[in-house]
Symmetry: C2
Subunit: 305 residues, 2 copies
């Protein structure tokens, strides 16, 4: 079950020619989730070769325009294409009111079901999407306005059954194979019991991805990134502009790396760079002094998790 | 006084990878006007090398999202950049209510003065912007919802004074040169009168540009394009899809060409092509059967008027 993320926009609020506004696609077994949706996201989806109609849920971190103005065009395109499958839109309180103020965005005008899930100031943790294959959890993070971070968690799957070993132990019936795979013991004809741990390998851990932007380094970010296979964390500034990071509610590259280390994340991807930086290698250099396994997020590159 | 237009987006509502959403910049003597502002316009301005802060007025044709969603990001960027010069936003009735419903877009939150000019259903003609150098006129056009077309008209300027000829007739005083240039006669010392037409060439006609989209071919479009140096007219379809053009309130290439011919326009630029067309040469072929001086609008190309 392949899971990958594709950064669609790694810039901050002011557009620059080589970085787009915040958006990140996650593809799991053909299902697409979108984290943030800055202006132009639908074009970046086209360039990435991702079918926008496959997006099942969109997670908005906060209501600064650079993180959600692309919703308007994307949802209009869904309407023009006659989308019929439901869509979930998760974000801070107020997002539904804003969207519904635009003509054509109330449920009566949409050809598909659009479900809003709003996270209200003061919430501490909430599982906002749950399927048989994965969950997405939200936690508050710390920005100038209410902001939310997210964690995608693939569910762990049962271990693999070794059919040769099972047969050698006398298991023959298809139903008994299924019982063992489901973790239940099987009593054979002669009274002998085969326990699942004799024939089934260890549970396969699901992969995880944390999306943490825009924020100061904070407990919510650390909890979302706890043991994550991949953490995307904003690094708007380098430490030279530490004061500016505090003033504006953002993080430096070193702070992002510190979150990754504290959380025991496996890999760190940095993004949301201020327009003043033309060479992102400075972020890497800083961050690697704290957390070695750091990369700069490249737009449209596919990162398997 | 150079005037040029730069198509920023020549696509229709559904994004395709090689055509952007509707927007057209006009540059006159360093002043920038913007006609329509689809999602992503601020990125196209960057790519065109046009400083967005120089935009003095924006003219929206109608309130379908593909023609105005880019306003949100563009105006946010103005705020982030600390714009202080006034901006005029012209569009159909309702545009101010929509914009002000977005957080941060009411006058109290903007660092510059934003003046709305709304055109109400039933208006017939209105000069919406007027400076010493040009006027912009609006007229209703015919779409599925209220839609407005625009005409930029540079003011005509006095003819050039021929200084050698003036001197030969005895004019010497700087003030007399100025009087003649202003169209007034000058009485010389000996009582001889020099009339302006003796030394000043013909009035220099101002250039004109009509922006007509989205619409059926209509009287408003013809009047806007009357004798225009350049007409940009939508051609969403070729005549094969004539019925579809009627249903959706759009024009075929032949209809656009017919408007250009009826109006006596000098040149026709076609745009707003439906996503189904990958090769725009079909539009040219059709249109030229009616109006020879037709081109397909190319994004980011500069068209002097």
């Amino acid at each position: 079950m392949q899971t990958e993320i594709i950064p669609l926009g790694t810039g901050a609020a002011i557009p620059v020619s080589d970085r787009h506004l915040p958006a990140m696609a996650l593809i799991h077994d053909g299902h697409v989730l979108l984290f943030d949706c800055g202006e132009g996201t639908q074009f970046q989806l086209l360039r990435a070769g991702i079918k926008s109609l496959r997006i099942e849920a969109i997670f908005i971190t906060h209501l600064h325009g650079d993180h959600y103005f692309g919703l308007l065009g994307l949802i209009s395109t869904f309407t023009l294409l006659g989308r019929s499958t439901p869509l979930t839109l998760v974000g801070p309180a107020g997002i539904q009111t804003i969207m519904c103020a635009m003509p054509g965005f109330d449920q009566a005008h949409l050809p598909f079901e659009l479900t809003y899930k709003e996270l209200h100031e003061g919430f501490t943790r909430e599982v906002v999407v749950e399927t048989e294959a994965y969950t997405v959890e939200a936690r508050p993070i710390e920005h100038r306005i209410q902001a939310v971070g997210y964690r995608f968690q693939e569910r762990s799957r049962p271990g693999r059954l070794d059919p040769d070993r099972a047969r050698a132990l006398g298991v023959a019936d298809v139903k008994d194979f299924a019982r063992l795979k489901a973790g239940k013991p099987v009593k054979l004809g002669g009274g002998h019991v085969v326990r699942p741990e004799e024939v089934v390998g260890p549970e396969r851990r699901g992969v995880s991805f944390a999306y943490v932007t825009d924020t100061r380094p904070c407990a919510g970010g650390v909890e979302l990134a706890r043991g994550a296979d991949l953490l995307y964390h904003e690094a708007t500034f380098t430490s030279e502009l530490y004061e500016r990071a505090i003033e504006t509610g953002h993080s430096t590259a070193i702070e992002a790396a510190t979150v990754a280390r504290e959380a025991g994340a496996r890999r760190l991807l940095l993004g949301h760079f201020s327009a003043r930086y033309t060479d992102p290698s400075v972020f890497i250099e800083e961050a690697r002094t704290v957390f070695q396994n750091t990369e700069v997020a490249e737009e449209l590159k596919r990162y398997p998790i």
